[in-house]
Symmetry: C2
Subunit: 216 residues, 2 copies
DNA sequence: GTCTATAGAACGATAGAC
DNA sequence: GTCTATCGTTCTATAGAC
C-alpha cells in the first residue's frame, strides 16, 4: 500500500488514472463518475484504483489537490509581484483579479494552454455537495481569501468590511459559475463558436469582476 | 397512471414528495439524492414516487418545472412593467437585473419570503451534469435570454453583440454561483451570520451585475 | 391509492493467484 | 504491480396483495 509515493519507478498507470479522473469528474461530478468508467477509459484494471489511491474519495481528493495547489501558488506569486511593482501604492483592482483568475484559465500544469477539463473540474469541486469535500474548501481557500481580501481592502478603502466580503464572494461566484455553465453559453451563442474562447472569456471575466467589485 | 393530474382530490402525498425533493435535490444533487431519502423524509411509501411521477427523472423534472416556470413568468412580467414605465427610453441596466434576479430570491411560491431550498435548487439544476437536464435548460432559458438580451442591447447600444453575450453569461454565472457556494461565504464570514441575509445578497448582486455588465 | 416484497442491475471494495 | 473473481451493499423500478 503506497500511501504517498509521489513518484515511484513506474507510475504510468497512476498517471493514466489521474488524467482520466480529472476529465470524468469535471463532466459528471463525484457520484455519477464511477470507478468502472475511470478504469475502462484509462485502460487499467479496476483494482488498480484501490491499490494506488485506497478509495474513490481519496482518488478524487488527490486529483483535486494536485491541480489546485500549483494554481494557488501561482496566484499568490503573481499577487506578490504586483505588490512589489506598485510599491506603497495599492494594486489596481483589475490587476488583483487578473492574478486570481488567469492562473486557472491558462494553466494545464504544462504551460501549453488552457485545459477545459481542469477548468471545469475546479468549478465542479467547489459546487460538489459531497460531504468529503467540505474540509477541502476551507484548506484551499482560507489563506487565499484572507490575502486577497487584505489587498482588495487596500485598493478600495472606502468599502466596509462586510461589503468587501459580499463583493468578493460574488466575484468568486462569477468565476465558478463561468467554469461550469456550458449550457448557458451554448444557448446564447446559438451554435456558433462551439469551441470556447478562453482568452476572451478570462479577459471579460477580469473586467467584469473589477467593475462589479469596485463600483460606487 | 396519472400523467398530469395537477390537482386531484387528495394529492397530499404528491405535495409531500415534491416538497422534500426540492430540499434534498438542492442539498445533494440528482445522483446523491435517493428515492429512499425522499420517501423516508416525506413519510410516504417508496412505491408512491413511481405511482405519482413515473420515475426519479420525471419527479425531479416536474419539481424543477413547477418552480422555475412561475419565476420566469414573474421575471417577464416585471420586465414588461419596466418597459412600460420608461416609455421610449431604455430601461436602466440595474432595473433590468432587478427584474431578473429578485423573483428568484424573494419567491417561495407563497409570498412569505425567501426559500433557501428553492434558491439553491435552481442553482443546482443549472449546474447539474446529468444528461436528462440538457433539454430543460434550453426550454427554460431560450425565450428568457432572448428577451433580456434584447432589452440590455437597448440600454447599452455601444456594446457589440458578442460583448453583450459574454457579459450576460457572466451575470447569469454570478447569480448561479451565488445560489450554490455556501461554503465560500461561510469561510468569508468566519462563523458570523450563519443565517444568510438574502435581502442584502440580492441587493449586492443586482448592483454588482449592473456595474460589471455596463462598464466602459 | 397505498402497501410489501423483490427483481435486476450497478456500485465500491477486496481477497488471492500470478 | 496487475489481474480475475466475487462479496456485500445500495439503488431504481415494478409486480401484486389489499
Amino acid at each position: 500500500m503506497p500511501t504517498s509515493p509521489r513518484s515511484t519507478a513506474s507510475d504510468k498507470t497512476r498517471q493514466q488514472i489521474i488524467h482520466v479522473t480529472e476529465r470524468l469528474f469535471a463532466e459528471k461530478g463525484f457520484r455519477a463518475m464511477t470507478l468502472r468508467d475511470v478504469t475502462r477509459d484509462a485502460k487499467v484494471n479496476l483494482a488498480a484504483v484501490n491499490y494506488h489511491f485506497g478509495s474513490k474519495s481519496k482518488l478524487i481528493r488527490e486529483v483535486i489537490r494536485d491541480r489546485i495547489e500549483p494554481i494557488n501558488i501561482e496566484r499568490l506569486s503573481r499577487l506578490d509581484d504586483l505588490i512589489e511593482l506598485h510599491g506603497a501604492e495599492p494594486v489596481p483592482v483589475a490587476s488583483i483579479f487578473d492574478s486570481l483568475f488567469r492562473p486557472l484559465f491558462e494553466s494545464d500544469g504544462k504551460g501549453t494552454g488552457p485545459n477545459p477539463a481542469l477548468i471545469q473540474m475546479i468549478g465542479r469541486a467547489f459546487t460538489e455537495p459531497a460531504d468529503f469535500m467540505r474540509g477541502m474548501h476551507r484548506d484551499f481557500f482560507k489563506e487565499l481569501s484572507a490575502r486577497y481580501l487584505f489587498e482588495l481592502k487596500r485598493s478600495c478603502p472606502e468599502l466596509s468590511e462586510e461589503t468587501l466580503r459580499y463583493r468578493f464572494f460574488l466575484s468568486i461566484s462569477t468565476m465558478l459559475g463561468a467554469t461550469i455553465d456550458q449550457v448557458i453559453l451554448e444557448n446564447l451563442s446559438n451554435g456558433k463558436s462551439k469551441q470556447r474562447n478562453y482568452d476572451r472569456l478570462v479577459s471579460e471575466l477580469i473586467a467584469y469582476a473589477a467593475a462589479g467589485f469596485a463600483h460606487s
